[in-house]
Every structure is written in C-alpha cells, then in structure tokens.
Amino acid sequence: MSNSKVNFSSETKGDWIIWTISGSVDMTTAAETEKKGREIVENNSKVALDMSQLEYISSAGLRVLLILTQMAEDEEKEFAICGAKGDVKDVLEDSGMDVLLNLNDSLSDVVGG
C-alpha cells in the first residue's frame, strides 16, 4: 500500500512555493491530490510542482494537472510543472500534455538557483 500511496511536501523559495509530489497519482489517489493542489494554488500565486520524485501518473492524474492548470489560468496565477521523467514524462508527452501544460525540464529552470 505504501508504494501506491502518494506523499506531498511543500517549501517556499523566493516568490515560489515548491510543491513536491512523490509516489504515484492514479485513480485512487487523484482525488486526494486534486484537493491538496487546489488548496496550494488557491493560497499561492506562484506554484512550482516538483514531479521528479513521482513514479507514476495515470490519466486521472493528468486530469488533476489539467484542472490545476486551468484554475491557475483563471486566477492569473503561475502553475509550473517541473522535472517529470521516465514513465511520467512519456505519459505526459504521449497524451499531448506538453501542449496543454506548463512543462519544464527541471525545477531550477523555474525558480532559479
């Protein structure tokens, strides 16, 4: 169970809040992730999502990313997705998310340093 579970952490760096998701976001953890993401985007104007520790994301997870991106656009906030790799990166690219989302190779590209 612990393997399929998702873990969140956040830290502030300059203007940015860095939100780190580790584990996997699938149909069972999507709701939890969406709730946490909405909370963070609501309270912060510059959110950097660090996905470097994310092992898996399903279509349900992709939807969460779309929802949060849409939400940030509506509120004129920044929601940058950073550091996806491996399977996660493949899923994002195969489903054409690079067109829809603000994808970045690494966290430092967004928040600097």
Partner: protein, 718 residues
C-alpha cells in the same frame, strides 16, 4: 451457544471434581485414622483385658488356694479337737467308775458285797489263777457298780463295754451291745487272764488313767483300744482297774463324716505312727496298698517316702501344720493337728491339683467376664465404626449437595451473562447486563456493557457508512451500465476480409474506457479506442458523449482525407462547457478493406501495436493532444498499408500500466514481447484472452485499478 453451555458445565464440573477430591481425600484419611485408632483401641482393650485376666487370676488364685489350704488345716484342727473331746468324755466316765470303786474300798464298812442281778447285762470272767475266796469277795464288791457300768455303757455311744477287773483277776463287764455272741452260748469263755492284758498292766504300772495301744480285740477280733484307770483302797493300794473298751468303728464315723473335697481324705495316726482310721478305708482293712491306708502293722515313719516319713515324725511330735508331700505318687497338701489325750494326730489331705482347680475355674470365670466385656467393647467399637461410616457418607452427600449449591451460586451469573450476551448478539444493543456479584464476573459484565456501547456506536456509524457506500455503489452501477451498454458486442460481420474482436474488463471503480467499430460503407471499417479521465457517473457520461460525437462526425465524413477533421471537430464539441476538465484520449482508425490502406488519427492515446512483416511494433504517432481540453487543436491523420494477415492491436493504459504488488507495471515492452511470441494465426478472441491471462499473471494478487480494454483487427486481403 453449545460451546458456552459446555464451558459452564466445565467450570461446575471442575469445581465439583476439585472439591470432591479434597473432601474425599480428607474423609478417606480421617476414616483411615479413626479406623486405625479404633483398631488400635480394640487391640489395647484386648491387651489390657489379658493383663487383667493374668493379674486378677494370679492374685485371686493365690487367695483361693491359700483359703483352701487354711481350710484344710482348720478341718484337721476341728476334727482333732472333736476326737479329743470324745475321748475326754470317755475318760470322765472311766474316772467316775474308778473313783466309785476307790470310794468302796476306802470305806469297806459302808458297802456290802452284792450279787449280780442280771447276767444278761453283766458277764463275769476270771483269771485262771483265781482263788475262790477272792472271787466271791471281789465280785461282791464290784457288783455294787453293776448298774453304773450298764448305764454308762448305755449312755456313751463310744463305748463297746465297760469293765471292772480286780487285782485278783475277777472281771465283770457289760455285755457287748452289738456282739453277735449269744449270752446263752455256753461256749463263752469264762477265762480271761486280765492280769496279763496290756491295758491292765499299763494302768497298774502307771497308777493313773491310760489309753492302751490300738489292737485287735481278743474276743471280737475287732480293732480298738481301752481306756483304763486303777482304783485304790484306803492305803492307796491298787485294788483293781476300771476300763472301757472302744472299738475303732465307734469313732470311725468321726473320720467318715468329715466333708472334704473330691480328692480330699483324712486319717488318724496313732502314737506309733500307724494309720488307725482313714476316710478312704474300712475299719477292718489290713495291708492297704496306700501309703496312708489303715495298717496296724506299719509305721508310716518307716516308709521309703521320706517326705511323708518326715511329716509323720512331726505328727508324732504333736505338732500342728501343713506340708506338701507326695502320697501315692501324687502331690498333696497334708494338714495335721494333734489329739492330745492319746498322742494321736488327725490329718486331712487334698491333692495339689484340686487346690489349683478353683484357680483354673477362677481363671475361666475371669476370662469369660473379661472376654464378654471385650466383646461388648468390640460391639460398641463396631457400632462406632458403622456410625462413623454412615457419618462420613452423610458428610460426603452434604458436601456434594453444598458443592452443587456453591457451584450454582458461582455459575449462575455466568449463565445470566451468557443469556444477556446472547440477547445483545441478537441485536438488542440497548440491553444492559445487570450483575452485581462484586467479583470478576461483575467486572466482565461491565466490560461487556462497555463493549455493547462501543458496538452500538460502531453499528450506527456503520449504518451511515453503509448507506453512503450503497449510494456510491449504486452510482458505480449506473456508470457501469452506461459504459457496458455503449459497447458493441457483435463481432460477427459475416465477412472474410477482416476479423475483429474486442473486450473490456471494468475495474471496480469504473473508469471510462470504451471501444467502437462499425462499417461506414461496404468497404470501410472504423475502429476506435478511448480512455476518459476520471471515474464514476461523470466519466461514464463523458464517455457516452465522446463516443456519440465521434461516431456522428465519422458518419458525416465523405472522404478518407477528412478523418483528422473528424477528430478536430469532435474535440471542439467536447471542449464546450467542460469546466470539470474531463478529457478523453482517443485513437481512431479506418481500414479500406479493398486496398488495406489504414488511416488513423491519435488524440493523446497510447500508441497501438501493429503486426506487419511478421512482427508487432508500436505505431509511430504524430504528436497530439487529448480531446476536451484544448479547443483549437488541429489533429493530423496518418496512413499505413496492411497486408494479408496483418493485425492492429489497440489497448488502453489498463493493460500496460497493470501493476503487481511490487508496484511494477506490466509495460509496453512486455506487451510487445508477449504478442510477438504468441501464435498469430489463432482467432483474435483467443489472442485477447492470452494477453489478458498474461496481464493477470503479472498482477497476481494486486487489485485491478483501471479498466482493461483491448481491440484487435486482422486484415484478410482478398
């Protein structure tokens, strides 16, 4: 329920067994102890009884034997006295007659010679040396006492006859009362040489009253003796002798009358050690074989029996006493006392064994008494033992009863508890267990009550949750029904130029996968596979919408080159009012069944596998976006050509992303490898089953988290 019952029984039985065991052991031990004590008591009583028998026998026997022996002596004393008295009485008679004669001769002037009046009463005898003158004178003087002699003879039973004998040899005497001789007998001897007779000579020589030795009388031949006393004249010259003849049979009865014991007897020994009378013998017996039998010829002191000889010596010495001697081989107690006048000795004897006989008797009596006492004591002990046994049994029964009551007392609350718990278990959570025994059971009841409260709360929660779950389950059911009803399930187009098969296995939490296939005309087959993001009813509805829109646009298509436009238009439709950010990934293809040309458009879906040139490879897809998000996205179409037997294999990420417990995905590589190593000629239905089996094999115990959807199309070029 049954188990509960058994457990109660067990507690009760265990208590019963433990208490009964302890009670039994205590009872058995106390029974053994009391039995041992009683047995020991009985033994002790027996021992004491035996001791009493021994001690009392010893002391009482001693008293008894002493008594008997002293009685023996008393008898000897009494009898010797009797004999002595009788002889004294006789002596007095003789003395009176002698005194009377002395008086006559002292005063001859006062007495005249008289004649004998009755010859039947008085006889006359004379010595052969008699002178006639003296005969007349003496007889005349003696005749004065004729009546006195007769009277004395008559009145003294001891006397055979009374006699007067003068110094000149004249003798007158009473006739023997019991004599068999007839007085008319002419043969009666008139001669009696009295002057040479023992008693006359002894009386004259001793000049006083004497007793002669016992001997057989001259005339009668009977054994007897004389008592004789001389009489005198004025000058103190002996004028004659007065005498009485006593036969032993006269005093025999004094011996015979003595009452002695069975073995007892008595005898008189004279001053010469001769036994002259015996209670065992006839007066006239001679040469009796007994050592103390009558014999005038034998001196007991001369016997070989030294003990008896010694005793005789003492008797002759006039002693009185008791000795233990052997007589005729048997040990006797011999008591003796002197007859002083004659120097005789009166003896009584009894066998030692008879002396001891009362001892034996006494022993028997004492033993009998003691034994009967012991018997009684034993009976009482027996009674006590029976009583003890009954008491033990009663105690045992009482213990069993009390134990039953006690265990009931302990077990009853447990029964109540189990009844109450049963009621609670049947659903009455408002039931409160009321047990106030103040012990562990009450504590247990309190715990049960607390548990019941918890259970009640939990049940209420559960009811709420269950209701919610039911709602969502119902929702999922709706979703599932929508999903399934949208999928075509008739794979048989009755055509030889292609073969198609598809399957979808929905996950528990219903995703939004769908597939679709249809002929738009006789030569064009369209296949679609799609995956809607999200789950539940919204996903299902979005799926339905997507499927409908896609099919509608396909059916309005006039040219294969418009295939990409179908996708673009569908996307625009789906983007409208999509606040929820639902999206769908779609792969759509169209096969020209005449040429094998395969047109396809991708909308962010996983790349399908295509079997061409005997190998499965992933199709290279143009970059594209999912449908429903970006309204102005333009999709592009691609084209490949299938040959006879080539296969298109479409799937959703439920296949490649199926995870096992170690969180490992099935992945694209494995899918490709599996398809390559499987047979390509088998029906597609079989192929899909094989793939699904391999996916399941990979997932193992892990729960299916997403729909597994596959579609395969084989082109058979005609």
């Amino acid at each position: 329920m049954k188990l509960n019952f058994n457990m109660n029984m067990n507690i009760r039985q265990r208590m019963l067994i433990i208490i009964m065991s302890i009670t039994s052991i205590v009872l058995i031990i106390s029974t053994i102890i009391s039995f041992f004590a009683m047995y020991d008591g009985k033994k002790q009583v027996r021992r004491v009884g035996d001791e009493i028998i021994q001690k009392s026998t010893e002391s009482s026997s001693k008293i008894l034997s002493e008594q008997k022996i002293s009685e023996l002596l008393h008898i000897a004393e009494d009898k010797s006295e009797d004999v002595n008295s009788s002889l004294l009485y006789l002596m007095r008679d003789v003395d009176l007659i002698a005194d009377a004669m002395t008086n006559i001769y002292t005063h001859p002037d006062k007495f005249f010679p008289r004649i004998l009046e009755d010859y039947n009463k008085i006889s006359v005898q004379y010595d052969s040396s008699i002178k006639d003158q003296s005969f007349t004178t003496d007889m005349g003087m003696m005749a004065n006492l004729q009546n006195m002699l007769y009277n004395f003879n008559e009145t003294n039973p001891m006397v055979d006859l009374m006699v007067l004998s003068s110094k000149d040899g004249v003798t007158i005497g009473t006739r023997n009362k019991n004599s068999n001789r007839s007085r008319s007998n002419e043969d009666e001897s008139k001669i009696y040489n009295v002057l040479s007779v023992d008693w006359y000579k002894k009386a004259v020589s001793e000049r006083k009253i004497i007793f002669s030795d016992v001997r057989n009388f001259v005339f009668s031949g009977k054994p007897g003796f004389f008592c004789a006393e001389p009489y005198f004249n004025g000058n103190n010259e002996i004028m004659g002798v007065a005498a009485a003849q006593i036969s032993l049979e006269r005093i025999n009865k004094m011996v015979q009358e003595v009452e002695l014991y069975n073995t007892g007897f008595c005898f008189i020994m004279d001053n010469h050690g001769r036994v002259i009378l015996s209670s065992d013998d006839d007066v006239y017996s001679e040469d009796n074989p007994s050592e103390v039998g009558i014999s005038l010829k034998r001196d007991v002191r001369d016997l070989e029996n030294k003990e008896l000889a010694e005793a005789a010596e003492k008797m002759m010495a006039g002693e009185k006493g008791i000795v233990k001697v052997k007589i005729d081989g048997a040990t006797h107690y011999l008591a003796f006392a002197p007859v002083e006048i004659t120097g005789w000795s009166f003896a009584t004897a009894i066998e030692e064994k008879e002396v001891n006989e009362p001892i034996k008797e006494n022993n028997e009596i004492i033993e009998e008494v003691t034994n009967s006492n012991i018997e009684e004591l034993s009976d009482r002990l027996k009674f006590t033992i029976i009583f003890t046994i009954i008491l033990m049994i009663l105690v045992y029964i009482a213990t069993v009863y009390a134990n039953r009551k006690l265990s009931d007392y302990f077990v009853r609350p447990i029964y109540q508890l189990s009844d109450d718990v049963r009621e609670i278990a049947s659903g009455n959570f408002d039931k409160k267990i009321e047990i106030h025994t103040g012990d562990e059971i009450e504590h247990l009841a309190a715990v049960f009550n607390a548990m019941t409260d918890e259970l009640k709360r939990y049940m209420e929660n559960l009811t709420k949750i269950t209701a919610e779950k039911e709602r969502s389950a119902a929702e999922l059911n709706v979703a599932k029904n929508i999903q399934l009803s949208m999928l075509p399930n008739n794979f048989d187009f009755k055509r030889k130029d292609f073969e198609i098969f598809a399957s979808m296995e929905a996950a528990k939490s219903v995703g939004g996968d769908f597939y679709d296939f249809y002929l738009i005309d006789k030569t064009h087959l369209v296949i679609t596979i799609a995956d809607v993001s999200g789950k539940g009813v919204p996903a299902a509805l979005f799926m339905a919408t997507s499927k409908t829109i896609l099919k509608n646009f396909v059916l309005t298509m006039r040219n294969p080159d418009d295939f990409a436009a179908v996708m673009t238009c569908s996307n625009q439709q789906l983007c409208q009012n999509n606040k929820a950010m639902m999206f769908v990934t779609v792969f759509m293809g169209m096969l020209d069944l005449r040429t094998g040309e395969f047109f396809f458009v991708n909308g962010g879906h996983n790349p399908p596998l295509i079997y061409q040139n005997n190998q499965f490879n992933y199709l290279k897809l143009n970059k594209a976006c999912v449908l429903g998000i970006k309204k102005n996205f333009s999709f592009t179409q691609q084209k490949t050509v299938l040959n006879d037997g080539d296969i298109i294999f479409l799937y959703t990420d439920g296949v490649t992303e199926a995870m096992n417990l170690n969180h490992e995905q099935y992945n694209e590589k494995r899918l490709q490898d599996f398809l390559n190593q499987s047979s390509k000629n088998i029906p597609l239905e079989e192929l899909l089953k094989e793939v699904k089996k391999d996916v399941k094999k990979h997932a193992g115990e892990a729960e299916q988290s997403d729909d597994i959807t596959m579609l395969a199309l084989r082109f058979n070029k005609i």
